[in-house]
Symmetry: C2
Subunit: 119 residues, 2 copies
């Protein structure tokens, strides 16, 4: 079936969550949001573009930092309300300069930082 961005289920703000996963290591890098146009641009360009909810603007990952995400494959979940992006990540994915955004673990009820910024 030909894919049509309009067949995804967006929330009241017209957004769908997208999980970025490093295709090589399997590390879950980050979660961000897309609207239909961001989905279309990402598929067309092979580079990941999100919608920034804070800036209310398209956000092509790495446009300022150079830490781009090359799209290897986009997948849709069973409810069509979430996307999984298999990507090749250039440099750190997180704005804190860490490889991934999920660097705080909860261990025995205590927050532990388990990943340091890259240098």
């Amino acid at each position: 079936m030909q894919f049509n961005t309009e067949t995804l289920r967006y929330d009241a703000q017209g957004l769908i969550p997208a999980i970025a996963q490093d295709v090589g290591t399997g590390t879950v890098l980050m979660l961000a949001w897309m609207n239909a146009e961001a989905v279309a641009r990402t598929l067309a360009e092979g580079r990941v573009t999100y919608w920034s909810r804070s800036r209310k603007a398209f956000w092509t990952k790495g446009e300022s930092s150079g830490h781009v995400q090359r799209l290897v494959e986009m997948r849709i979940d069973c409810d069509r309300d979430c996307l999984l992006l298999l990507v090749e990540q250039v440099g750190p994915a997180c704005h804190t300069n860490r490889h991934a955004c999920f660097y705080t673990a909860i261990r025995d009820g205590v927050e532990v930082v388990i990943m340091e910024p890259e240098v």
Copy 2:
């Protein structure tokens, strides 16, 4: 720092997205939602409980299907508005009986089912 569920950033509905990842294989299994109480229950019980937006009720994964998710570790992202759950998944994670919910890939503009239901 002691973890406090109130320090997470929930959306207008009081919910935070939670990504479940198979700790052994790295497969991203599903995305669902939690409220503060679901986060607390999951940490206390070591079994994953979500909040079902459609049923407006707590949803302990596997309570009817037996396909439970044992929590190995909960991680928080940099913005504190998304969770990553490293889990041991018993049986398929998806209600379609597939191992994971992201079983539809978009390849050359066409939707391709890349995972079959388990038997």
